[in-house]
Amino acid sequence: MLMFIIRRLVQTVPVIIGVTFVVFFIMQLVPGDPAVLLAGEGASKDTIEAIREQLGLNRPLYVQYFDYLMNLANGDFGVSLKNSQPVLDEILVRLPITLELALFSILITIVLGMGAGIISAVKPYSMQDVGVMLVALIGISLPSFWFGLMLMYFFSVKLQILPVAGWDSLLHVILPALTLGAGGAAIVARMTRSSMLDVIRQDYIRTARAKGLRERLIIYKHALRNALIPVITVVGLQFGALLGGTVLVESIFAINGLGRMIVDAIRMRDLPMVQGGVLFASLIFVIVNLFVDVFYRFFNKRIELN
């Protein structure tokens, strides 16, 4: 198991380097010159040229890229073009906020999704199944920016029981986490249902019934544990989608997290900031995937052996 984790960790290195490469060069393709933006409108050519010189933007791209990589290796993420603050400092302030949001969202995804999936699978093709799956379909179809606004309107403006926006207390977490987790919950619900239905038709479920085991135990002990494997995979993937979603949700609910930071940085052509932000986001994703793999092995004894 330890060897497996180490091997997986080593495998993440090329992934991270790949991410830096893509982020670096994509930012070059984005129209707009950071030097011009920094100098402000109507600045003289000389000023712009001076800023370029100062930031090293006049060097060839590959030199800039290798320079960037070398700095990264030393833990130096560069300084923001906007306010000359170290990128890492800014990220370390923002990251916990996004992580908290993501964690609550994935919790909602798992609890709501699996709960709904089980309810559906226990009585397939019944009214409760059709109802739950209809809600899940709506959940998948709703765009999060609209769903977020609707939640905000209903709970904060009309009922006034939850704060509209911001990030101060646990109450502030509820709406954004719900917005972010709802789509994933719907997907997990459908996955849980189909996976459970698959397992419930197996002979060992019949065997369990024939033994005289209680239905509740059959569902939770025999069926759910076997049905969980594909669900875990989906939850892991969903976490990636969720990180992308933070960009939107943090903007809607005015949360100063990593997602919003990246959006702002892109707007300002603040290259080091964008690179740092995206790098961290992908790091989280890679780590989560690693967790999923380890968990998966732990859960499926057969994989461990092969």
Partner: protein, 331 residues
């Protein structure tokens, strides 16, 4: 050689019906049903092995499942020790399940892949509470001994065993609760022929040892010939013939049984045999033929067979057949 069976009825199946609704093309059409088991009645005597044979889809497995209420039957009665088990509530039924056990065809699908052999056996004993907790370990080792598995097997998972070994685990599991009746649903069909023989002999040995009654569901006539005391032949959800094994194999009365028996391969190329070949396919169980269900493929069918459904009649001693022309054809 023949085992003497005292004719004490252990299980009596009376007019059992199992219909499954199927999707119809239009909502205006009446709901259609697959009549998987249609009016099946038979008795099972204590200590005997009754085999149910027939081709795929004839309802033999469905009959087994309906008896155990793994699928709730549509209609009929199933008496076990004089009690109609279809009327029992959930709690009473759970208790009774200790007496009635089942072994499935696929030894890969019938064991939970996430439980060790110990957990599998232990759970069975715990539910039915047949053995007190401190004695369970000894009992598990004893069970493994009965089915010919080493004690080390306890801590392993099903995927670490071969097909034959898994089937032994399945048998140990069934035995764990001290059953009276075991329904073997194609219990050896998924195994290699050499392993089949081992498992069949094991079943026979255990039957003797624990006075078990077997309802043995199979499509393999050679296997049936090896293990049964009596044989019941099914076709399209109906019983066509029931008789003592020797009687049935030596002098079958129903044309379908004759065709079925003549399909057994004989490992002797010089032997000339008369083969009864059937034409056509099995008709759909959604809309079965009128009269005798076999008339569409029967070489001896007459007008009467298309109109009137034959009842199961005792033609010889303990030899029941549902064919209008059974006496005629027997000569």
């Amino acid at each position: 050689m023949e085992k003497v069976i005292d004719k004490k009825v252990l299980l009596k199946v009376d007019q059992l019906k199992q219909y499954f609704p199927v999707k119809t093309e239009s909502i205006f059409k009446p709901k259609a049903f697959v009549k998987a088991v249609d009016d099946v009645s038979f008795e099972l005597f204590e200590g005997e092995t009754l085999s149910i044979v027939g081709e795929s889809g004839c309802g033999k497995s469905t009959t087994g499942r309906a008896i155990l209420r793994l699928d709730e039957p549509t209609d009929g009665k199933v008496y076990y020790s004089g009690q109609n088990i279809l009327e029992l509530n959930k709690k009473e039924m759970r208790k009774l399940r200790g007496d009635l056990q089942v072994i499935f065809q696929d030894p890969f699908a019938s064991l939970n892949p996430r439980q060790t052999v110990k957990q599998i056996l232990n759970e069975a004993m715990a539910i039915q509470n047949v053995v007190e907790k401190p004695k369970r370990m000894d009992r598990m080792l004893e069970l493994l001994g009965y089915v010919g598995l080493p004690p080390e097997a306890l801590d392993r998972y099903p995927h670490e065993f071969s097909g034959g070994q898994r089937q032994r685990i399945g048998i140990a599991r069934a035995l764990a609760v001290d059953p009276k009746l075991i329904i073997c649903d194609e219990a050896v069909s998924a195994l290699d022929v050499s392993i089949q023989a081992q498992i069949l002999n094991l079943l026979k040995k255990l039957q003797k040892q624990f006075q078990l009654t077997f309802l043995f569901i199979s499509h393999d006539l050679s296997v049936v010939r090896h293990i049964s005391d009596r044989v019941m032949v099914m076709y399209l959800g109906k019983v066509v013939e029931i008789a003592e094994k020797k009687d049935l194999f030596d002098s079958p009365l129903h044309p379908y049984t004759k065709a079925l028996l003549s399909s057994i391969p004989v490992p002797n190329p010089t032997l000339k045999r008369e083969r009864v070949m059937l034409t056509g396919d099995v008709p759909s169980p959604i809309d079965p033929p009128t009269g005798c269900r076999f008339h569409t493929r029967c070489p001896f069918a007459v007008e009467n067979c298309k109109q009137v459904e034959p009842a199961l009649r005792e033609i010889r001693n303990n030899h029941f057949v549902s064919c209008h022309r059974a006496e005629e054809l027997a000569q």
